[in-house]
Amino acid sequence: MSDAELSKPAARRRGESLRLRLMLGTAVLAVLFMLALLPALRGAFVIALEQSIEKRLASDATALVSAARTVDGRLTMPDKLPDEEFDTLEAKLLGFIYDRQGTLVWQSRSSLDESVSYRPRYDGRGHEFVRITDAQGREFFVYDVEIDLLRGQSAAFSVVTMQPASDYQAMYDGFMGQLYLWLGGALLVLLGLLWFGLTWGFRSLRGLSAELDQVEAGTLEGLSEEHPRELLRLTGSLNRLLESERQQRERYRHSLDDLAHSLKTPLAVLQSVAEVIDKQPQNREQSQVLQQQIERMSQQIGYQLQRASLRKSGLIRHSARLAPLLDTLCGALDKVYRDKQVQVLRDFAAEQHLPMERGALLELLGNLLENAYRLCLGQVRVSVRQQGGVLELCVEDDGPGVPADQRERILRRGERLDAQHPGQGIGTAVVKDIIESYGGELLLEDSALGGASFRVRLSE
């Protein structure tokens, strides 16, 4: 029991963060997934980009080849090339033509102020696409194609087109920027959708939680059937548990009733026999002993039975409205003490609730009120004060009050002050027991009305 209670707050904390935990878990998974996707995307982009650069350089090389003429085995290039980029310095498209021996025979105007240290190797393998770094550390894409203009060894050349990789780098950086932006955006959208999805998915859990609140508050008998299939087993089990607890409490109450009746009635018979014995003077002493023992047994039975019947329900959160309970009890006590015309002053909010089970509060208040009705001269006051998380229920009367030296005794279990009113001792003991089972305390002080003031202090 105590273990279960101890683990309760932790379980609640875990329960509250379920959606957040799922969110965090999914977010981490999504980020990991995107990180894993990134090299593949980047690789695919690089391949596509390089292919397009290769194609471009190849077509530029083809343009150079088609512009080239050989006169007597010598290569001549026209002054004005069809592709203007070879002629402008800013264009960054460089063209070179080497002969078989690797001697530069022509270079485009755009390459005049460049000093790229590329030497083609004429190996008859057709074309080559590479990335090189020059002496200054600059990178270039190089397309190198071997041509044989006259189908003879004498007119074999390497046509080389180049492009600085810095342009590519800018494109690559731009792409990566875009990629990160998109992935980030996608992640945000995903998380947003996920949040909505989880909220929607957890709606049934929140509905269940709301129903449980109602069950705990006692406004609902059990959980409804309108839950997702996955929860129906759980709600079904809970309903069966609630029902069996209810039945058990009912059975328990009935057997306590039976037990009380079957124990107390024989005691009443014994009591009557003792009274008959009492009439003969020679038996008076034995009769007194008998009556005392009967009284003791009766008090013990009464006390233990009341205690047992006030067993707290484990599933229901306890809260009872004070006003209707007080109405019920005052209605009953007004009847019993009709001649006294007791005036009951109320000093609490109309909606005042006390954190106790209804049955327990009824017994607690019944015992305190009867005490007050019995001892008062005409006025009883019931008040509730709330201060710093402590709730104080106070029942006062304008009677003679309890002398300070007897207060300790009256609060002690099973003791009674007034031997003329049997059962009073049990009353205070039960009151004390109920209060202690709710972790509260009972104080006995003087009342401003003039009599006794019983204060029940409970933490909210």
Binding site: K264, A268, V269, S272, V273, L329, G331, V336, I426
Partner: protein, 225 residues
Amino acid sequence: MKLLVVEDEALLRHHLYSRLGEQGHVVDAVANAEEALYRAAEYNHDLAVIDLGLPGMSGLDLIRQLRSQDKSFPILILTARGNWQDKVEGLAAGADDYVVKPFQFEELEARLNALLRRASGFTQASIAAGPLVLDLNRKQALLDGEALQLTAYEYRILEYLMRHQQQVVAKERLIEQLYPDDEERDPNVIEVLVGRLRRKLEGQQDFKPIETVRGQGYLFTERCR
């Protein structure tokens, strides 16, 4: 007074029957609710003592049934559990007071007498009518401060008439106060008893509190306090 006692435990029922009888009451003691309803329909009781834990129809249902039949006599409940749920339910059903088992007879008697006094409108332990004072606790009548020598039957008739002052009381009602059952019911006995009572009350002065209403019964004419 004519009392109805409903208690299923035979020994306790017998105890109540004999002790209450000793106190000068006429007691109808029955073991279950059905029997109690029958008796209540047949006779006029002044008070009922009902155990809540009856077999068959419960004490609570019996009280409700009695009240629904317009039986207005006070009801004292005996409860074994003594918890407030039972007391509140019993009182709400129509009972007027409760005693928790086991009880000392004196406790029961005190509650019972208080209820009877209240029912007749007298909250004190005595009823006074002119020079006549009835001490309800000691079951004694005092005329000008002097104790009257009344038999138990004479006292019962006087108390009943005084409790029902200013009302015509039928002879049958008075017979019920004296005899628990139908046997030995002879209206002439009442006439004889009332005659003796009158002689004792109307000693010297002009004090004639009991009037005969021909064909109907008797009337206590003096106003009681």
